[in-house]
């Protein structure tokens, strides 16, 4: 018991590691602020392209979504970070992470938007057209607001996944929350810094996870 407290809940070590870990937290938040809006926008683009009247364009969008949903984000990240230099491009860790996570998250968001748009009945399109709205106006003012409401729990839950995903950036030495915690761990030979980082993730995400459960139940009811 004593050993467990020493090893995982060592307050003295947590206190020493705190400034470093808080700087990591800042980096994690910056990363989220870059990746989440990019992903939401990219996903919307994927979804709108997949509505195209041209079969090849539609097919390409769905293939793109499936492609990036099939590749583990870590593989994509290492491919971009370690592979691109062979092609003469040398992305910084931040750049590599932004590109990899943009491709990964927008494919997931795209799939969610697509499901949402499909959940809005054809009658809504027809009715909007009959009032004189053009295709893009119908999409923006009639279909999307309803689509987003229908898939709101999925959008929020995917956003939680994106925040969790940022921990993978530690693998390419981007000094975010997990990376700084792991640095502190290897410096002190003690797991308390990682427990501290885990606690920070919990504080950030637990309320959202609870919210998702409630949203899901309300929509099901």
């Amino acid at each position: 018991m004593e050993a467990i407290v020493q090893q995982f809940f060592n307050l003295a070590i947590m206190e020493r590691a705190l400034p470093l870990i808080l700087s990591g937290l800042k980096e994690t938040i910056v990363l989220c602020l870059i990746v989440i809006p990019l992903g939401l926008a990219g996903g919307l683009a994927f979804a709108i392209i997949s509505l195209s009247r041209l079969r090849t364009v539609r097919w390409a969008a769905v293939a793109g979504i499936d492609f990036f949903r099939s590749i583990p984000p870590l593989v994509l990240l290492i491919f971009i970070y370690a592979g691109l230099p062979f092609a003469g491009l040398r992305p910084s860790p931040m750049m590599a992470v932004a590109i990899a996570f943009f491709l990964n998250t927008s494919s997931y968001y795209g799939e969610i938007y697509r499901a949402g748009i499909e959940s809005v009945g054809q009658g809504q399109w027809d009715a909007a057209h009959s009032t004189g709205l053009k295709g893009h106006q119908t999409l923006a003012y009639v279909v999307l607001p309803q689509a987003v409401r229908n898939v709101l729990p999925d959008l929020v839950s995917n956003t939680v996944e994106v925040v969790k995903l940022t921990s993978i950036a530690s693998v390419v030495a981007l000094p975010e929350l997990l990376y700084t915690a792991d640095m502190a761990r290897s410096a002190t030979f003690n797991s308390s810094p990682i427990v501290l980082a885990a606690a920070i993730y919990l504080v950030m995400l637990w309320p959202v996870v609870r919210l998702i459960s409630r949203l899901e139940r309300r929509i099901a009811a």
Binding site: R69, S70, I71, P72, L165, S170, S191, I194, R217
Partner: protein, 203 residues
């Protein structure tokens, strides 16, 4: 390319144990014992909120210091199975809740007990509903087997990066990516098929 075998092995072990544990937890939760349910909800929420990589590092580097030494293969399997179990529990539970009360009452009136109702009436219907979300979640979590590379499990990504640094060439990485695509695209497409099929039936 022996990484492919390792990836498939871990993924299979994770899917099997994770979904079964998730189902078991959902069944236990159906008994509605207050204290037990609180424990289950806390477990489920924690494993849904924590990034898997954090858990992997915590278990891999933390446990040896308190005298428990697990091979990295086991660490990866354990963490991913628990994460999947947490998500699966939530999905199965939502499925059980979605079965109207009338089904329970009708089953009781034919003389079926609580477990009989659960096993023969509620679960068969609930599990149908859970197939699409469960497939999606399972795919997302089995893709996390790539995290094993961080703690030196010899799966696809690990073999590919090792080969890449030996050969000084990006081809192994490309092969690794292709291996993942070959493994997962069929499953993603299957998931899409299941989704439309089950969604259509639900209405």
């Amino acid at each position: 390319m022996k990484g492919v075998g390792v990836t498939i092995e871990i993924a299979a072990a994770v899917v099997l144990t994770g979904t079964l544990l998730g189902l078991a937890l959902a069944v236990v939760r159906a008994f509605r014992l207050l204290a037990l349910n609180a424990v289950i909800v806390i477990f489920v929420d924690m494993f849904r909120a924590l990034p898997p990589l954090v858990l992997v590092l915590l278990v891999y580097f933390g446990l040896p210091n308190v005298g428990i030494n697990l091979p990295s293969f086991v660490v990866l399997w354990l963490v991913l199975a628990l994460v999947l179990a947490a998500f699966a529990e939530e999905i199965f539970w939502a499925g059980i809740l979605s079965i109207p009360k009338g089904q329970w009452e009708a089953a009781h009136s034919t003389g079926l007990g609580f477990l009989g109702t659960l096993a023969y009436v509620v679960l068969p219907q609930a599990i149908r509903l859970t197939v699409p979300p469960l497939t999606n979640r399972t795919i997302a979590i089995t893709k996390n087997t790539a995290l094993g590379t961080v703690i030196g499990v010899g799966e696809i990504l690990n073999q590919a990066t090792t080969a890449q640094s030996f050969s000084g060439n990006a081809t192994p990485l490309m092969m690794g990516a292709i291996a993942y695509l070959a493994l997962f695209i069929p499953i993603v497409v299957l998931g899409r098929f299941l989704e439309t099929r089950f969604a259509w039936r639900r209405i």
